[in-house]
Amino acid sequence: MADERSDGSVTRVLDADGKLVGQLPEFARDVNELVRLYRVMVLARTFDTKAVAMQRTGRLGTYASSLGQEAVSVGAAAAMQPDDVFVPSFREHGGQLWRGVTLQELFLYWGGDERGNDFAGPRKDFPNCVPVGSHPPHAVGAALAFRLRGEQRAAVCVIGDGATSKGDFAEALNMAGVWNVPAIFLINNNGWAISVPRAKQSAARTLAQKAVFAGIPGEQVDGNDAIAVRAVMERALERARRGEGPCLIEALTYRLCDHTTSDDARRYRDDAEVSEHWPAEPLTRLRNYLTAGGHWSKESEQTLQRECSEAVEGAAQDFLDTPPQPASAVFDYIYQDMPVGLAEQRAAAIAKREGAA
């Protein structure tokens, strides 16, 4: 993929057609691992499609699709250990699914139910961060917590290209560098921050260069190449676990979708540009590679598509069948110990609900 955002040293294992162009990392010699990467990316895309459709029909809130960017978060999550901590932005459902967040929880979250953040799986993972770029400091704190306890754990924070313009991102990178904590910052550079293109976000040649100011390593990876993302993330995480500190990784990908369901990208972006990027999207290339190696067939694809569809449809139905939380829940998690004044408001809200019913 020729990309004006790259500095010519982008780690890539597969090209857009799925041909091997780089060094195959150790994990990729196990075809099951590659199939697993592919499966979760397909599941994420199936979820995206369903979520957008449900938003359009009024059954889900505003939704941010990850179309075309699945390899970034899935590749990152695949490189993590279960007890590492994921600090996502809001386009990382693929990575969240890999880490054990359930489809049902994703639907709950995007459907406007806080229980969707009460992950049964990765209990210590952070919920999505909607105020853009305000979460990198949390990864620094989490990573410091691990180091202070002498644990071999790391924090992985995903941010968008827009977030790299934020002060909190710069502060966090700087702090992580000073403290040498096991925190990896992964930029999902999808080219657009709603309507603002990458070129208007920063004069830096690459976003990975922003690591220089913090005195930490920075590198670029082909964000549409799940194998490459996982490989680069694994190396970064190994360094971090060895006490060699944080790292900034810029994954070059493309937002094939609108920013969210509330956005109409045609107002600011040519369809031609989107079409131009479709051939480089991450699912096809991994499927092509698997197919060329004799590890994937039309039948396996059909089976996978059916399985993902059934899983997503089932979870969507479960979500729709889940009653909303009672009015009391609005009040029950503000503090551990309910203040008197809040208890009065809680009682009034419950009474109002019951009166209305």
């Binding site: 953040n117 105020p131 503000i334 004044g341 809040l342």
Partner: protein
């Protein structure tokens, strides 16, 4: 027992909290080797080491942000923001993250952190160093706001704030750091949050204040006593959650209320207290509620500070107005 200053009491509470709980960390600018610009963390670095007393880069938002990460992963960070005027940079982290982590995750992740910061004016400081933003913080759901007014209360309230399972904004009255002195029993006993403290009982009127203005309020009460006016003085201590009952009970007895605070009057925390009293005890009121507060201006530069600061005579005048009303 010898007397210590309010800032020494803060330091004593930090020592105690760090001794009894190894998850308590202290973070901030100059809190380590230097012991804090006001010496609130004096000796901590020597005793507990750089792993637990952390000199941070100069980045307020991320000091709080990193503390949120620490808190969510099992620590109890106590953050010092050097002056409250610099805490505005942390508002995003406090409102969007610290305050709502428990709610957003239905209690899966929580944020037991304390943000300590010297607040208030009257110290002839350079600009931005004399802020009283307690009402702003008290407006945020999910945080608690605590302001001590004496060494013993600083010690007891800070211990409770550190032990609290939720984020606490702990505003220390800079003006009292060295001026307020008193005996403090270092026995690890916390004072309950969410409880007003009746510092002086009285029959004739209720005076409610917090932080440094407690000093003027108590002085005013003494002067009023010389004229036979018996004022009750209540230290709110915890602005959020507010112990409304103690204030209401007092006003129901006295029928008169004077609220004293240093922050600008409009939307100041006194407005909330006045509204609570008007809403729940208006039939007990014998006179309009008086608010003695700062003007709706910035804290002026130090040469004009006296123009802004509410004084003892302001409090006395307000008290006399309520007493004269019929």
């Amino acid at each position: 027992m010898s007397e210590i200053s309010l800032v020494e009491a803060v330091c004593l509470a930090l020592h105690r909290a760090m001794t009894e709980d190894s998850t308590v960390l202290v973070l901030g600018e100059d809190v380590g080797v230097d012991g804090g610009v006001f010496r609130a963390t004096d000796g901590l670095f020597r005793q507990f080491g750089e792993q637990r007393v952390i000199d941070t880069p100069l980045a307020e938002a991320s000091i709080v942000g990193a503390s949120i990460g620490l808190a969510a992963q099992g620590f109890r960070p106590v953050v010092e923001i050097q002056f409250t005027g610099f805490a505005y940079a942390c508002i995003d982290q406090i409102i969007n993250h610290a305050s709502r982590l428990r709610s957003r995750t239905r209690g899966r992740l929580t944020c037991p952190m304390v943000l300590r910061s010297p607040a208030g004016g009257g110290i002839k400081a350079v600009e931005h160093h004399s802020e009283s933003p307690e009402a702003m913080f008290a407006h945020i759901p999910g945080v608690k706001v605590v302001i001590p007014s004496s060494p013993a209360r600083a010690y007891g309230l800070l211990l409770s704030a550190i032990r609290d399972p939720d984020p606490v904004i702990f505003l220390e009255p800079t003006r009292l750091y060295r001026a307020a002195r008193g005996e403090v029993a270092d026995n690890g006993t916390g004072m309950p949050l969410g409880a007003c403290l009746t510092l002086k009982q009285g029959r004739d009127l209720t005076m409610v204040s917090w932080g440094a203005m407690i000093k003027e309020t108590l002085e005013a009460a003494d002067k009023l006593a010389e004229d036979g006016i018996d004022a009750e003085v209540i230290d709110v201590a915890t602005l959020k959650p507010l112990d409304t009952e103690t204030i209401l009970a007092s006003v129901r007895r006295t029928g008169r209320l004077v609220i004293v605070h240093e922050a600008p009057i409009t939307c100041g925390y006194g407005a909330e207290i006045a509204a609570q009293v008007a809403g729940r005890a208006i039939t007990s009121l014998l006179a309009p509620i008086e608010r003695v507060a700062g003007y709706d201006t910035m804290m002026p530069y130090l040469r004009s500070e006296g123009v802004y600061m509410p004084s003892v005579s302001d409090v006395i005048a307000a008290a006399r107005r309520t007493m004269a009303y019929s």
